[in-house]
């Protein structure tokens, strides 16, 4: 096994992992606060990406600036979905929540298909043309920028959750919705904000090429097996997550 190849795989995987983690942070925020799994998360992201593409193609706005608009638009989309649908089923059985979110996902995904067609679109930014060499390893500037952005946004979210009134109410509502209501938090507003912020996180995602260690050790298309295998293992052995405490 070529050590450069392994190092390259690790580095790419790590950088892209930062982007995935931002998506996951958004998902977790929604799940953590409301106990609703946003099955439409990826489909919201599709709209964020197409918006970035539209802004760059039609208005000539660089995608690295356009993401602010995208995040704002996705916040609104999240707000609408929360107020329109999710709010009504927060207390419904899991099955109903899953089916509802599946419905939302189908609508968002296929509306994008109808609106933009099946051909892939590419976002180009003058910022992302170059590559940087670190010893024998190379890094796309685009990927580095995206990674940096993802880290900054995650840090901002952490500050929001720990330092602001709304963020603290959110954590309170996640911990105990009834208690949060008792101390005067507007749980309905908190839910709406959580869903919006969760959706906005994926609005920042711009570039989408996944590479990970699976691609180095297995054939490139088999790498998905690693992800799904890992998912099954975690579901079975650490259902509260790798770092989560098991509920008593």
């Amino acid at each position: 096994m070529d050590p450069t190849l392994v190092g390259q795989g690790l580095l790419s995987g790590f950088l892209f992992g930062g982007v995935y983690s931002l998506m996951a942070v958004g998902l977790t925020l929604i799940f953590g606060v409301m106990r609703v799994v946003n099955f439409a998360h990826g489909d919201m992201m599709v709209w964020g990406m197409y918006l970035a593409w539209l802004l760059s193609v039609r208005a000539g706005i660089d995608p690295y600036l356009g993401f602010v608009v995208c995040a704002g638009a996705l916040f609104l989309l999240g707000l609408v979905i929360q107020r329109g649908f999710v709010e009504r089923i927060v207390d419904a059985p899991h099955e109903m929540q899953i089916l509802l979110m599946l419905g939302v996902a189908l609508v968002l995904e296929n509306a994008a298909l109808v609106a933009f067609g099946p051909d892939p679109a590419r976002v180009r930014s003058p910022l992302s043309q170059g590559t940087v060499w670190i010893g024998p390893l190379f890094v796309d500037v685009a990927r580095l920028l995206t990674f940096g952005l993802a880290m900054v946004l995650t840090a901002a979210l952490w500050l929001f959750l720990t330092r602001t009134e709304l963020g603290r109410s959110m954590r309170a509502a996640a911990d105990n919705p009834y208690g949060a209501r008792v101390i005067g938090a507007d749980v309905r507003r908190v839910y709406a904000a959580a869903f919006g912020v969760g959706a906005a996180c994926v609005g920042g995602i711009l570039v989408s090429v996944a590479e990970s260690m699976g691609a180095v050790f297995l054939s490139p298309s088999m790498k998905e097996l690693v992800s799904f295998g890992l998912l099954i293992a975690i579901l079975l052995f650490r259902p509260a997550g790798l770092f989560g405490r098991t509920a008593s």
Binding site: R88, E95, L102, V107, L225, F228
Partner: protein, 317 residues
């Protein structure tokens, strides 16, 4: 003979006579209605009655279809025999998924994720292993030989699909009348209470999963020999799982008639939009309709169309 029995017999007789009256396109639409009603009915056992939301039932269709197609292509085994082997293999996978999910107590969306993950793993394997066709999938040469599960006349497929649907419905009706069916409903409504009353819920859920995946696996053979091709993304993919799940949900999960009603509502819709809209470049439209229907059902008819119709009928009477 009761009125209900008479009505059922009449309906079956009408369905049996139908292909001799209507044109070939309508026969095709009816085949899809029956086939998806069959798959929905098979899902209904574990997903509807037992309330274990499997979103990976496409995997069983795929395994059943691939097994009988490969056995016929490589060993010359007739699909009429191969379909049972496919069913058993699908049931074996169902047993593995069920055991892991139920033994480890995965409920709600954790179980959904588990079933999706297994179906996706099957899809990726089928895509990448060239011995089973790889990304190209499998193509079955048309011979028109009834011994090879192939028919010159579309009407033959019609009757096979009709028999499949009626048989699965009879099985589900029988389950509902037995103690086993009562256990399943009890598990759906309150699993802990059911367990506290001494029901071996793990065993009951396993049986439901195995039976459901077995029946779904049998359907895989029909899929393969009606469409003459098996594509990994089509037979193992999430879209097919959604197609399987959505009909019983819309019609009424956990009822005998729900999957049939759901399929009679949705399959013509899907077929029409596929025929007319997809040609004019509106590929995703029927899935948008599915999405909207799912949302509407969850918000307004959480028990599905069939229970709502019954309530309406009772109020009239």
């Amino acid at each position: 003979m009761s009125l209900v029995k008479l009505l059922v017999l009449l309906a079956v007789a009408m369905l049996a006579a139908l292909p001799w009256v209507v044109g070939s396109y309508l026969v095709t639409v009816m085949i899809f209605i029956f086939f998806y009603a069959y798959l929905g009915q098979a899902w209904n056992i574990v997903g509807g009655y037992a309330g274990q939301l499997s979103a990976g039932h496409a995997a069983f269709v795929g395994i059943g279809g691939y097994a009988s197609a490969l056995l016929s292509m490589r060993l010359g085994l007739s699909p009429w025999i191969g379909m049972w082997i496919g069913g058993v293999l699908a049931a074996a996978l169902g047993a593995v998924i069920g055991y892991l999910g139920f033994r480890f107590g995965l409920r709600g969306f954790y179980f959904v994720l588990l079933t999706v993950a297994f179906a996706e793993i099957c899809r990726v394997i089928a895509l990448n292993v060239d011995a089973v066709g790889g990304a190209l999938g499998l193509y079955i040469t048309f011979t028109g030989n009834p011994r090879q599960f192939q028919f010159q006349d579309n009407r033959a497929y019609y009757y096979v699909a009709l028999v499949l649907m009626l048989a699965a419905t009879a099985v589900v009706r029988e389950i509902e009348r037995r103690r086993f069916g009562a256990y399943l409903t009890a598990i759906r409504q309150d699993e802990s209470a059911c367990e506290a009353l001494g029901v071996d819920t793990l065993r009951v859920k396993m049986l439901a999963m195995i039976l459901s995946s077995f029946l779904t696996g049998l359907g895989g053979t029909f899929y393969a020999y009606y469409l003459f091709s098996l594509q990994p993304n089509a037979v193992f993919g999430i879209p097919l799982s959604v197609e399987i799940v959505i009909r019983p949900i819309v019609g009424g999960a956990g009822t005998v008639m729900g999957p049939l009603l759901g399929s009679f509502i949705l399959s013509p819709l899907a077929e029409l939009s596929r025929t007319y809209l997809a040609q004019s470049g509106w590929t995703g439209v029927h899935l948008i309709v599915y999405g909207l229907l799912l949302i509407a059902v969850v918000l307004f008819l959480p028990q599905g169309a069939y229970p709502a119709l019954r309530r309406l009928a009772r109020r009239r009477a």
